[in-house]
């Protein structure tokens, strides 16, 4: 006896197992149900109707390729690219340049590396954030949130510059470590933006 709910659950599992998490599964499932109902109404047996409906939706891999094309055109990858570049530059500075400073301590080196690692983890926490955060489908509301988030981060950077960098009597190596830590909220923001965009389009 054919069970539609079990068949849909198996189909969703199959797609998820393929690692194709970027697909809008809920929307595709809604389409699948519409197509199934239409085929059953024409008199086709349920099992055959479901198989035909899944075939018509198309191969998951092909769908994924199409959605990947969209992803690559959005600012998500640009944001990810920019922040990854920052991490590489900052990491490079921490590893090589910082090591050449006369007054640098091993604690400062470790602190700099920890800051870079935390920034990188913040960016790639985006997909994790997408799993727990509520989906915001309203494009305008997301833009407002991104705008406010960006303002907060830039206010933080301005405060850091105004009240820490210009006043603290730091030597060069302390300054580099401080800057690396100060940039972490920006990396976190990029990760959150990427996660929210992914969640919104599932």
């Amino acid at each position: 006896m054919f069970n539609l709910e079990q068949a849909i659950a198996a189909w969703r599992q199959k797609v998820s197992d393929s690692g194709l998490k970027a697909l809008p599964l809920q929307e595709l499932e809604s389409h699948l149900r519409d197509e199934f109902e239409a085929l059953v109404k024409t008199g086709i047996e349920e099992k055959q109707a479901f198989d035909t409906a899944t075939q018509q939706i198309g191969q998951a891999e092909r769908l994924k390729r199409e959605f990947d094309k969209i992803e690559s055109k959005t600012g998500n990858r640009a944001a990810l690219g920019i922040t990854t570049l920052y991490c590489l530059v900052a990491g490079g500075a921490a590893l090589f340049k910082l090591g050449s400073f006369a007054d640098v301590s091993s604690v400062q080196q470790l602190s700099a590396l920890a800051a870079v690692a935390l920034a990188a983890a913040s960016i790639f926490a985006g997909p994790l954030f997408a799993k727990v955060a509520p989906a915001i489908s309203n494009h305008r509301l997301r833009m407002v949130i991104y705008g406010l988030g960006s303002l907060c981060v830039f206010a933080w950077l301005a405060l850091f510059y105004q009240h820490v960098m210009t006043r603290a009597e730091w030597n060069m190596s302390q300054l580099v470590v401080g800057i690396l830590w100060a940039w972490i909220p920006l990396a976190l923001l990029c990760g959150i933006f990427v996660g929210m965009e992914k969640k919104a389009h599932v």
Partner: protein, 110 residues
């Protein structure tokens, strides 16, 4: 059957034109195109969704989930102001292509 290159090129103007008439969801859009083209325009069903999502990213259309009386949820799409502008532009370009082709064929066959 219409060639796949032409099917792909006409996807955005077709969706924009249908949404110009009112909001709709993926399955209904596909059925509408099938019906109007008498099956000549064949989209793989799942292929419409990347197009819709791309248009949403461009800011041409917006979407919202609507729950029917039976509890079924469907994602409805509707045009935004930028979408109306894009529709107007697409329409002008397709009419231009059509008029050029029509002119050439008229000279040849009349």
């Amino acid at each position: 059957m219409i060639r796949k290159e032409l099917v792909a090129a006409s996807a955005e103007p077709l969706v924009l034109s249908l949404l110009e008439q009112g909001e709709s969801y993926g399955y209904a859009i596909i059925q509408e195109i099938k019906g109007r083209s008498r099956g000549e325009l064949q989209w793989t069903d799942g292929m419409l969704y990347p197009v819709l999502h791309r248009m949403e990213r461009k800011g041409w259309i917006k979407s919202r989930w609507v729950e029917s009386e039976t509890g079924r949820k469907r994602k409805y799409y509707s045009l935004k102001e930028d979408g109306r502008k894009a529709h107007k532009k697409h329409r002008e370009q397709w009419l231009k292509v059509h008029s050029v082709l029509a002119g050439i064929w008229k000279e040849k066959y009349v």
